[in-house]
């Protein structure tokens, strides 16, 4: 069994310095790794990233993160990424990381993701250049997630997790105004997860959403935005299943 701690949307700044560290210091007792689901800062400044870095440096469990839209606001996402990596975190954008949990190899594929909406009410690649680019960005993020998950499958990871900031499914947005769903996630992420296969999908972004959801392919989805979980992090116990073959989705392959 893998113990996965996760939280997103911690929105740190100088006035919250050190507030999460006491809880994070308990991680080695209850978790094998910590996932950070984006929006780690408020405005994406290097100063705020430094606060996050101090919060996660030397925690005793591996830290795997994606950035969120807030982390892009100051247009310094590369510097924010560098600060977090310097503190020991894996920061993923269309990439993957493999960490050890006992004898198990845990693969995490990550992307910020983007909006566009969900099946039946989604944006199309049509019209003004900015509209087309909106949808293309979402598609690029989803493509990167799918390729990263497939790579983890080929590498024979015991467990594969999809980590995003934006939501892959509408269920975990329940509580948010329906009108803003297209800005909260995209079905393209869920399609990528179901195509490549994963054991769990974790995201943030929707502060007023709900914790539990599932993709069409049966992959469990958890919205770990801090306002949703009401804690410094949540812990999920994920069983290690016998894999039928590399590259197969857990939901479909092992039931």
């Amino acid at each position: 069994m893998i113990r996965i701690a996760a939280v997103g949307d911690i929105h740190m700044g100088p006035d919250t310095r050190g507030t999460l560290r006491p809880a994070f210091d308990t991680l080695p007792e209850c978790a094998d790794l910590l996932l950070l689901a984006g929006d780690l800062t408020r405005h994406g400044t290097v100063e705020e990233a430094d606060v996050v870095a101090d919060e996660i440096r030397g925690l005793g469990v591996p830290v795997v993160a994606v950035l969120g839209n807030h982390d892009h606001h100051d247009d310094r996402q590369d510097e924010v990424t560098a600060v977090l990596r310097d503190a020991g975190a894996h920061v993923l954008e269309g990439e993957s990381a493999v960490v050890r949990a006992g004898d198990a190899r845990v693969g995490v594929a990550g992307t910020k993701g983007f909006g566009g909406g969900f099946v039946g009410a989604s944006a199309g690649e049509f019209g003004e250049p900015v509209m087309k680019e909106f949808v293309r960005l979402s598609r690029r993020c989803a493509d990167g997630l799918r390729a990263s998950l497939e790579k983890l499958g080929q590498e024979g990871c015991d467990v594969r997790i999809a980590l995003t900031h934006y939501s892959p499914v509408p269920e975990t947005l329940a509580g948010e105004p329906l009108e803003i769903y297209p800005f909260l996630g995209s079905y393209l992420l869920a399609e990528a997860i179901d195509t490549a296969g994963a054991d769990l999908a974790v995201h943030g972004h929707a502060h007023a959403g709900s914790e539990h959801g599932m993709t069409t392919g049966g992959v469990k989805v958890r919205n770990v935005a801090q306002p949703v979980i009401g804690r410094a992090f949540h812990v999920y116990h994920l069983p290690v299943r016998d894999r039928v073959g590399a590259g197969t989705g857990t939901g479909a392959a092992t039931v």
């Binding site: 949307d9 929105h11 006035d15 209850c30 105004p177 769990l200 502060h207 804690r231 410094a232 812990v235």
Partner: protein
């Protein structure tokens, strides 16, 4: 082209419409120095409801201060809480 004053044309002056004022508040919360997208502001009946979770007590004060400034004269009810930073007391077993 209509050169009449908004008032004499029978419309509501934009500046006093609660809906537009709430929309402008949303804009200011998001794109101003607070960068706050997690606060919900809704016109409900004759009042405005402000709800959400923010990262710190200072953020809460900053949001409330901006709300007071933008919505002066309107009845405002708020329920803004600060994020909980305690460790979880249980784990979820995923089958």
């Amino acid at each position: 082209m209509n050169t009449q004053d908004a008032g004499s044309a029978g419309g509501t002056p934009a500046a006093s419409s609660p809906e537009y004022r709430v929309a402008h508040l949303h804009d200011r919360l998001a794109s101003g120095e607070l960068g706050e997208l997690g606060v919900r502001v809704e016109v409900r009946g004759g009042a405005v409801l402000v709800t959400g979770t923010v990262p710190s007590a200072q953020c809460r004060e900053d949001v409330l201060s901006m709300v007071r400034e933008e919505l002066t004269g309107l009845e405002v009810h708020w329920d803004i809480v600060v994020s909980e930073t305690a460790s979880p007391d249980h784990a979820e077993e995923l089958s």
